[in-house]
Symmetry: C2
Subunit: 429 residues, 2 copies
């Protein structure tokens, strides 16, 4: 018993909502043909009926009453594009009323994804959330389907466009952090209050979603080690380039014998690594699987049309499922709760920049401190000293973080060391 | 009525077949859980029952009689990994006997994809061919599903690992073509008879498959303009780098108002383009959609395990479809037969290296020849002349190919021009 049209309720008509309406208007015939059914947006929840919209929409579709949409028995699919955690009640109500849910809500899926997916399953429905991470880049679907034959070993993502824009400007145009941030704000790639982006919070939420799916585990935000980019100096980016690296804010998830390792931090990335070529506001996810090896997905991590592209792809999937009477796609509702390994037990290579007195024995002291903690050095730069002060840049081989930290503690006690200016992790592949 | 196990027949146990068996053994539990059903390889067609295999397989599964597999009513899925066009009869027989088909066969899907997909549809079945292009990189599924809301405007692919390996060695290690080819052969990235790879034939077949899907049109091999890399000089790669480019063999498909444009040729790619970072044997597909903007898929384009990863992903999809009684996934059987635009009507920017007599008026003559055909120059390098001969490198702005060719004809007639050494296309984004 196939339906003639699929009726959809939209919660929210902001940036992404306008993008979705735009795509349905622009590519409507193709969407209908792929979906196998006509798709009609029947009602749209907005806060203000009179507001100017970026897209032309029949005013009679708009309502300020969520119940009018959620309780409409003709509506089979709810697309939630309001964001924030307060909409959880709407999503739960929609699922209990046997509606499919599509959402672009990163915060909601990162903090409540597992229970919501279970609720969906218990009601014979599903939640689609391709748009919640990576904007227009296909990430969720490839992890669930295309790489379904793989045990995922590692994810390395550039999944925050604001920080990547800033770091790219700093690197390619020798800008200082504050100037690059101001540029990002002027061009709409950073918010006026950019804290969540700069401090890695946004990337950590997205990592929760991706790592949860990749490692089949509930991933809690507070188990992710998070460090942002606001202390990054242009000088370090210059040294990094001299050594063959660029600096990126990475979100890294790994499954090791001891458990999951989850972190967001800036890192030196080799210029020959495919992530090094991910510039400006673009995002990418690098995935290591035990069968495929390494693959990467690259594209626009935000924006009305890219994110709308992911929402409408989900809508086509839902439509096909409903039309074929398949009530579940592949679901991920049997999340385990895997152990998370503390950062200091992980191995990392480090980049270190310090100022030392230009006097005999200083470098020997440094070298001994590292050697005592079994940290070995991979690269060293020391340029001509100025005013009795030498700037030294070191890159270590990978070693347990606690050993590196112990060496750093020894070094800080030397009278010859004037300041430890910067410490960053380095990824090798 | 759900089955307890899904029985599979494998045609071929070479490189990819061994990879598939390996993955089913290594990740069997995960595959079963994703598929929702146990998957059993019931029979395997081989040429030689006694041959040593790269994977451990129960010898009782092997047979040299295709009919024993194709006519087994218990077998619901045929995985065809023999390659070549002679297996077409097996694929057709399998479809007529209502079996699903999974194939990694690029030649077959490029030359007979459309009729085979129609045959599948007429029998209520489908053909899955993720592994036929790009090895382990998800390409087919993203084009069909994740980007399903987009009208695809342009595909630019690095889809031949042999040529990309050679060009990467030439670029990063200043090697000449012949040495890089020898290295590629020694390391197993080029065959002893590498003609199909070097001349762009392999990439053109893959472009037929990708462009067919992206533009919903039957794409015939003989409508693709093909040029290979065997004439590329290290000297041009050096100049390209000086100008901010690297050289790649690209497969390009575009849909323009006038029709499809399809070509495989070497081209200068800006170093800031994400395709520039695709090194050695890796492959990537850059896709422009009218909603998403630009996305790229990157990874290993060949190899037993990567290609096996794509085959097993298809197998999971088939198993889920069978298990849920859905007989068709999204199909692409209503291919149109769109017009193809001749290359000379397309716009391209060009790189040109020539030797000229070091005498007055030569450059003016050159410039006039271009100007006469409305070709404008974007970049020029002329270094100190040697023995009365000057080497000149030019990059033009985009102009119709026929205009550039006309300018080239004028130039060749000048007495001051001693030789046109190289001509390549340049992509700007």
């Amino acid at each position: 018993m196939e339906k003639e049209t699929l009726k959809v309720g939209l919660l929210g008509l902001g940036t992404v909502g306008s993008g979705v309406m735009n795509i349905l208007q622009m590519n409507g015939e193709q969407v209908r043909s792929r979906a196998g059914i006509s798709i009609v947006v029947k009602k749209i929840l907005v806060r203000d009926l009179k507001k100017e919209r970026a897209v032309e929409v029949d005013p009679s579709l708009l309502t300020t009453d969520a119940a009018e949409i959620l309780q409409d028995p003709e509506i089979d699919v709810i697309i939630e594009l309001m964001g924030g955690l307060a909409v959880r009640q709407y999503v739960e109500e929609a699922l209990r009323l046997k509606k499919f849910v599509i959402t672009a809500n990163k915060d909601l899926m990162a903090t409540a994804g597992a229970p919501l997916l279970r609720l969906a399953r218990d009601n014979g429905r599903n939640i689609y959330y391709e748009a919640s991470v990576g904007g227009g880049i296909p990430l969720i679907r490839p992890l669930k389907h295309s790489l379904g034959a793989n045990r995922i070993l590692r994810l390395v993502g550039i999944i925050n466009g604001t920080t990547n824009y800033i770091l790219t400007r700093m690197d390619l145009e020798n800008m200082e952090f504050a100037d690059a941030l101001a540029e990002a704000q002027a061009r709409g790639f950073a918010e006026q209050d950019p804290g969540n982006d700069l401090e890695g919070i946004d990337a950590a939420y997205k990592l929760c979603i991706l790592a949860g799916l990749a490692f089949n585990s509930q991933v809690h935000f507070d188990t992710v080690n998070v460090e942002g980019i606001s202390n990054i100096k242009q000088r370090d980016i210059l040294y990094a380039r001299e050594l063959g690296f660029t600096v990126k804010l990475l979100a890294i998830g790994e499954e090791k014998a001891e458990g999951l390792a989850l972190r967001v931090h800036p890192a030196l990335v080799p210029l020959t690594h495919p992530l090094a070529g991910v510039l400006y506001e673009n995002n990418a996810l690098y995935v290591e699987g035990n069968a495929v090896g390494e693959v990467m997905f690259y594209g626009p991590g935000a924006g009305a049309m890219p994110t709308g592209s992911s929402v409408v792809a989900d809508l086509i999937d839902v439509a096909r499922n409903i039309n074929h009477q398949v009530e579940n796609g592949i679901m991920e509702t049997d999340f385990l709760d895997k152990k998370v390994v503390p950062l200091e037990e992980l191995e990392s290579a480090f980049y270190l920049r310090l100022l030392a007195a230009d006097q005999p024995g200083v470098f020997a002291g440094l070298a001994n401190a590292f050697s005592k903690e079994k940290v070995s050095l991979d690269m060293i730069i020391q340029k001509r000293s100025r005013e009795g002060e030498a700037e030294i840049v070191l890159v270590t081989h990978p070693e347990k973080e606690k050993n590196f930290n112990a060496a750093l503690t020894h070094i800080q006690k030397f009278s010859g060391i004037k300041a430890i200016k910067s410490v960053y992790r380095v990824i090798r592949k």
